[in-house]
Symmetry: C2
Subunit: 360 residues, 2 copies
């Protein structure tokens, strides 16, 4: 009988859930229209109900291995508490794991959402072939995850990988975390909306201004659509996203010298718009990248790329630094969350008794 | 018979050499008045001669295990080449290991100088009790070293740990590495001299100005002495060093969540002058630090520290983040270099035959 696990991705704006089998096949996807802003207790209750109904629906399709949940912000892995979650107001010092387990009456594995995304890309995505990698997830905030020797690097108490709060410009805008100029205030969907509003306030962005007035849900996606259609102020915003990401990426490459850095999350779909300035910036910022870049990394000159590599980086030999888009897109965290219980137990951690009790 | 190794620390300005036994006891220290600026071939020749005479001197005191050499900049560990060394002009793409081995006629283990310092502090210094730690070495440049699970994290081709070239201020002064506003341009001895010259040019630093005119070797050490004597413009320089270091430290704590960060190198002796602003900045920059700081880290209010800890950091529980001064001072790299051959071989890698051949 097929073994499967439930993965939950709790984002800064919504909640997604999936059942994935041990080979990475998606069995089912549950959706909830939970608005995370409506409060933690409601979110936890609706999440637990969605998990239970998905498990009930699949009860004849396989054996459940467990439930993994990706949560944004800093989690204390020992206690299962959400410690600092700038994008989930009111979730600080909240016993997330206990609250889910109490409703579900079954054990749950908690993980930082970006760590889960790293695990997803490592399992089924862009990082399948490497043992060491980092991920940046660009969503409401900017998450980070680090995999070393094939395993998530949690740090001493599970708080490692907060790459979104690495300082990109010490005099930059205030970040929800309390600092200033974090990567997150340049490279998140929230940052795109802020920069769009700044452009509108500057008075030189007529199309953005029109859009903002006509659409009550003025979002990064709308700014992206304008940029794709050639609107210069909107394109400039994504150029700035790339510069911020490039500075952050340069820090990571200089500090860690990993073979692969993956950019995921919903905003990664704007790759074509931000990656040229990102590659330009990381090349300028990181001598380690300059020494290990695979091809002329200026994506604006793709024709030169392969052929000119030796000339552009005369000392680039041996292993290369790959910076690439996530293959699983914004589903990386969902697959990674489902992977969690598969890694921690070879035995099913949910016996039928437990499920029967829950369903009774 | 005692086993010992030779450690060499090749700094941006001078060269030091020591014989250390397997228990970390210093048997002898060789000094050379080599000025690194005089050129790589001369440096390598004088280094090799100093090693040989130290080995000859100690030939009846023990068995030599090997030679370890710490070199600043990026080293390709596979080829033993110095790839990028911003503080050793002319050493880019120089086959350091081959050149030393050719003169010595014996194998040599090369390591980045800050990695060697990390190893020294891990073996005999501040980090003896932890398995995971990072070091920043403040000297002519700012070096970095990362130890994970008790071993140096080299990255995919030995270039990891370049923390001195993490961006602190993207619009800051140009760095030798080609980027702008790297940690190195705020927290190195070179940066102290530059900032002192900027203060003098600003016209409001009479004591610095007098010193600069009277002393041909206007150095960070002299600025330090003035600051210790209370000169406000000199103290301001070290405050800025602390701010730069604090931003960098915040990046490391947010990214890696290690139990310990050690500050070493010659400039670490100015700890009392830069650490208050460093602690203030890292607390502001890093939510991970805020959640794990051991005591109220504002060193300017030591009386409050222990008692006020719970109040200042209500969520500080469990494991703490320690940021501390290197115990071995500027000798960390020397001891760490000597440790290298002890780690890589349990058998003496230099048989008497090889040494006899050399001495013949």
């Amino acid at each position: 009988m097929t073994k499967f696990a439930i993965g939950v991705d709790l984002g800064g704006t919504n909640l997604r859930i999936a059942a994935v089998d041990e080979h990475g096949r998606l069995l089912d996807k549950g959706t909830t229209d939970t608005n995370v802003a409506r409060g933690r207790d409601l979110v936890i209750t609706e999440m637990s109900e969605a998990i239970s109904s998905l498990v009930a629906k699949l009860k004849d399709s396989g054996t459940i291995v467990g439930v993994g949940v990706g949560v944004p912000g800093i989690i204390d892995l020992e206690t299962g508490m959400s410690r600092e979650s700038p994008n989930l107001p009111g979730w600080n010092d909240y016993p997330v794991r206990d609250e889910i387990e109490r409703r579900l009456r079954a054990p749950v594995i908690l993980e930082n959402d970006a760590n889960a995304a790293a695990l997803g890309e490592k399992w089924l995505g862009a990082a399948r072939e490497v043992d060491d990698m980092a991920i940046l997830t660009l969503g409401t905030g900017v998450g980070g995850g680090l995999v070393l020797h094939g395993r998530i690097w949690h740090g001493m108490n599970g708080m490692a990988g907060e790459f979104g709060h690495i300082t990109v410009d010490p005099n930059g805008p205030r970040c929800k975390c309390g600092s200033f100029g974090c990567a997150e205030v340049f490279a998140s969907a929230t940052a795109v909306v802020r920069m769009a509003n700044e452009s509108i306030a500057g008075g030189n962005a007529p199309q953005l201004s029109r859009l903002e007035k006509s659409d009550p849900e003025f979002s990064a996606k709308l700014v992206y659509n304008l940029a794709k259609n050639g609107d210069a102020p909107s394109r400039e915003i994504f150029r700035k996203v790339g510069v911020g990401l490039g500075i952050l990426m340069g820090d990571l490459v200089n500090g860690l010298n990993l073979p692969m850095y993956v950019v995921g999350g919903g905003m990664a779909s704007a790759w074509d718009l931000f990656s040229p300035s990102m590659f330009e910036e990381v090349l300028k910022r990181s001598m380690v990248y300059a020494a290990t870049a695979p091809v002329a990394p200026n994506a604006q000159k793709p024709a030169e790329a392969e052929g000119a590599a030796a000339e552009v980086h005369p000392r680039a030999s041996g292993k290369k630094t790959i910076i690439t888009k996530a293959m699983l897109g914004s589903d990386a965290g969902l697959y990674g969350a489902a992977r969690l219980p598969m890694l921690t137990s070879s035995e099913p951690s949910w016996g039928p008794g437990i499920m029967a009790r829950r369903r009774a």
